[in-house]
Amino acid sequence: MKVGLLYSRIRKDEKLLLSELRERDHDIAKIDVRKQQFNVSEAPAVFDDLDIVVDRCLSTSRSVYATKFAAAYDVPVVNGPDVAEVCADKVKNSLALVEAGVPTPDTDVAFTKDAALESIEDFGYPCVLKPVVGSWGRLMAKIDSRDAAEAILEHKATLGHYEHKVFYVQEFVDKPGRDIRVLAVDGEPVAAMVRSSDHWLTNAAKGAETDTFELDERALELVEKASAAVGGGLLGIDLMETGVSRSDTQGSSGEREAGTASDANGDSREQSAPRDYEFEDYTVHEVNHTVEFKALNEVSGVDVPSEVVDWLESKAQSESGTETST
């Protein structure tokens, strides 16, 4: 097949993907979106004869528009523009999850400092203020007091881009020092890991430690539902454990020991990343549409690029079959 790769920077993730595609003798058109002119009615020549386009844009804004153009040029694109639009924006992401009945942190959106401050006071301290567009844990604020809230809101309102005046206020989830990243294709998990840190942010980009994670039935169910909620595709789904009760009082960053845990279904089983606490359920805080997977590839024992290319091949084949049949 001939694969177009939308990009502006080749990270290790893209190198892994390119290497796997080349090993399988697929033709590749690397499309540096910085160098393209996307005409509204005529596709650039680089889109000719592509069986599928894979969006690996580092920039969310470019991703949203470039996928829209790929779809307009009638080239199947992974992930599609509708998925990108939902996942690119935390407000749309939260709404989609709630609409699908997926547990997700309680969130308010407010458009003025005063209204946002009311939400913050209602949530109580700590709570969290996030940019509606952003990644890697950047510009996230854990708000511990009214003084801090007033200062952060004023900074955002005064110094920020207009999007920073869309105040996304969220309950603080007292997670057990870690969250869970699942890479899934159309709701089917490929690999999962936990990201642990003493810091409240547990993004791998913030230096969190990673380890394997075995999904239980509840997590599998939520991954499938969260994927469907945003339109499916190649996704990174982030979950946190909620309702944590610890056997010790050391807090979330204490040393962990091997053991069993009760999951939301009451099942007890050995976990690949052992817990020394019990929890009630998971909450899905985010679904990412240009998922990074180098860390997953290293820790999970799964050949992630191979699994992704398997899925791309079947996707391209089914899209081609759809065209033939219509």
Partner: protein, 54 residues
Amino acid sequence: MADCIECGAAVSLHDSLEVGEIVDCSTCGAELEVIATDPVDLDSAPELEEDWGE
């Protein structure tokens, strides 16, 4: 090898270099983008943008 466009030092490069990849200059620490691989051409890497991520 290629020259760092920031400090002029020789930058060591690996075999599987890819256009669009970022390499670091071990002398000055600059992030450099690979513009071409044959021959190798390097330019300053773009600064981090607010909407970058996954």
